[in-house]
Symmetry: C2
Subunit: 435 residues, 2 copies
Amino acid sequence: MPTDLAQLVTDMARRARAASLALATAPTEAKNDALRRLADLIDASHPALLAANREDCSAAAENRLSAAQIDRLTLSASRLKTLAESVREVAKLPDPVGGILEERTRPNGLLIRKVRVPIGVIGVIYEARPNVTVDCAVLCLKAGNAAILRGGKEIFHTNTALVSLIHAAIAQSSLAATDSAAGEAPILSAVQLIPTTDRAALTTLLKLDSLVQCIIPRGGEGLIRFVAENSTIPVIKHFTGVCCVYLHADAEPSMAENIVVNAKVQRPGVCNAAEQLLVHAASAEALLPRIGAALAARGVELRCDETAAGILARAGVAHRPAQPADFTAEFLGLVMAVRVVVSLDDAIAQINRDGSAHTDAIVTRDAAAARRFQGGVDSAVVLWNASTRFNDGFEFGFGAEIGISTDRLHARGPMGLPELCSYKYIVTGTGQVRG
Amino acid sequence: MPTDLAQLVTDMARRARAASLALATAPTEAKNDALRRLADLIDASHPALLAANREDCSAAAENRLSAAQIDRLTLSASRLKTLAESVREVAKLPDPVGGILEERTRPNGLLIRKVRVPIGVIGVIYEARPNVTVDCAVLCLKAGNAAILRGGKEIFHTNTALVSLIHAAIAQSSLAATDSAAGEAPILSAVQLIPTTDRAALTTLLKLDSLVQCIIPRGGEGLIRFVAENSTIPVIKHFTGVCCVYLHADAEPSMAENIVVNAKVQRPGVCNAAEQLLVHAASAEALLPRIGAALAARGVELRCDETAAGILARAGVAHRPAQPADFTAEFLGLVMAVRVVVSLDDAIAQINRDGSAHTDAIVTRDAAAARRFQGGVDSAVVLWNASTRFNDGFEFGFGAEIGISTDRLHARGPMGLPELCSYKYIVTGTGQVRG
């Protein structure tokens, strides 16, 4: 890659680091002021934003992207209105920075406080969704982090227009007043867009571990793998999910049907949609015909093990035999793998072996069975008598979400503002030394 | 590398995963029973352990390791006694697993509990300290994690002997009863030692991201860099520190002297020892001669900027001119870089630029200056009127320490048992589905 591209990304990271130090102690009101101004600027800039977006959409059409792909990158007046509203909502959320997480006084008199602080500089690597640009910038800023954004080439013009609004909002806001009088204006580098989609620039970024503290990739599995394999900076991964619903022997039939149908069909293309149904052998004859018919009526293709297939065949419900790969598959569509298990422990073992540790649910009236399932299933979110679709930052009451982490370290499950923070220890003494 | 070596490490990781699922729900008393039995076995096995250690020590002498290196890997009856005691102490600590971190009920009635759970399988990569083998195994086990240990070749015989005691302790304990009746005994794989120090085995381990959830490297910078660059598993790094002490204009002279001397000389070879002294210009004439003399009297070589050198020269205190690299150096010995700063903000900026964000301290009588320093210095632990040497899990009251994280994600600063855990969300509903 050209040296000047590596230099350009390194210089961006240096400016981001300087901005992050200024942002770390910025007053809450200054950060919120910048966010509210951004919302107003989005509202006032529909023509410019839609014009930039049209450039991307035309290129997408020329490049023969699918209708679904073009839909994802297309802005409209109503989508921009929703976007501005979401920015105002983040401005209203409590500031996570400065919260005291723990406090203890040691026998030697040292007072030790664990205080929430920003992570520092966060690199967000994503694909072709312009709302991600604004969501990630705004959440990082609210949590006191500088953001380096690297979006997909399909939305390059839209992103450039959005980030120039973000810069204008920061410059107009009281956040700009936190800059030093020296006029270097590091705070304007709180949000930066990598001005090229050359992958070499991304590879450079992923190695700048002395300047960038965290990488969040959002997108398909290929992108996330590339980032995880090339980054020397800690990565918080957002893989998609192979989510399961298990119906225990005593599951209440109408509740079981509602939950399975909702988990599978309410929005089949997302990571918390269910891909697999496990039914206890003792209730399979009673439950499967009813639930299978309900799913089939909504266009779901059922891929069944031998026992489930036999039951559905006798009931006259359409189905297909499953291949082994169906039980570890993420369909992201109207397909569901179905199998019969012999026991609760069998269900737990199969989910731990074949699921993706994302979101799994049990339907049962038996509290002891639910506790055993929720303890034994090794997943980020384990639900009892509720749809897998509730694994979501908004549904959890976080008020915002930067994604759903599939990692175990730092953040697991829905990530809100506190998960965009680290902590530090503030220790107060009276001259103590170690003996 | 031979395929069978890759296969061997992969099989170990599979067994570790199975053990981690069994351990995740193991009763506290069963884990503590295994730990107490291990302590007793260490006490009862001095002859075998010392014999194994003598093999390593002889090889180390033949390989011309330094006296300090040989000392680090040498066991003695008194070191073994301390080791057994430390295991008993961990058995007494509260179990971090199962603690409810947050609880909320949503308007739709869903009860959402955030519960502390083990991380899963942790790989610990370290060098030539046999106590690390036991410390890491015991802390991982107490926190419900399976551990895969990869120690340095210098202590291979000692490690093999220690890990066979750990296996014996688990097999004798009530932890073994948590195994299934099927006789597969996954719990015995809760602690495994990679039976080769071939680096290819390590490289294989670092890519097993579907089986291993966390890698903790402990050792020199070269080892940590190798791990960070080759791992697709999240790594918690433990780099060493460029720690600073800043004396504000109003620092009380005797307190300043005590803290600087303690931070520098009490144990100069560790990561929380101070490497750098910054003195406010207004107090440099008063403080530097006294503190410089105290340091010089303890054999500390002072590497000074021009202003500090001038003051020490007039006072007749031995010193040398600093090179630029001295202000970013980790000496790990009796050397200290010294400079004079013009203001509090200057001190903060220099520490953020040249330090390693590990541990820094201010000495002042001014609470506002201390608050500004503790807010502005971007380090894991920032102390006011106390020695940097207090950044330590035991000094913080954690009762145990697996290391001091220099990362921002998951764990920062001293890591105790809670930092060896992740969390999951346990959601309880009454049939809720998403609209």
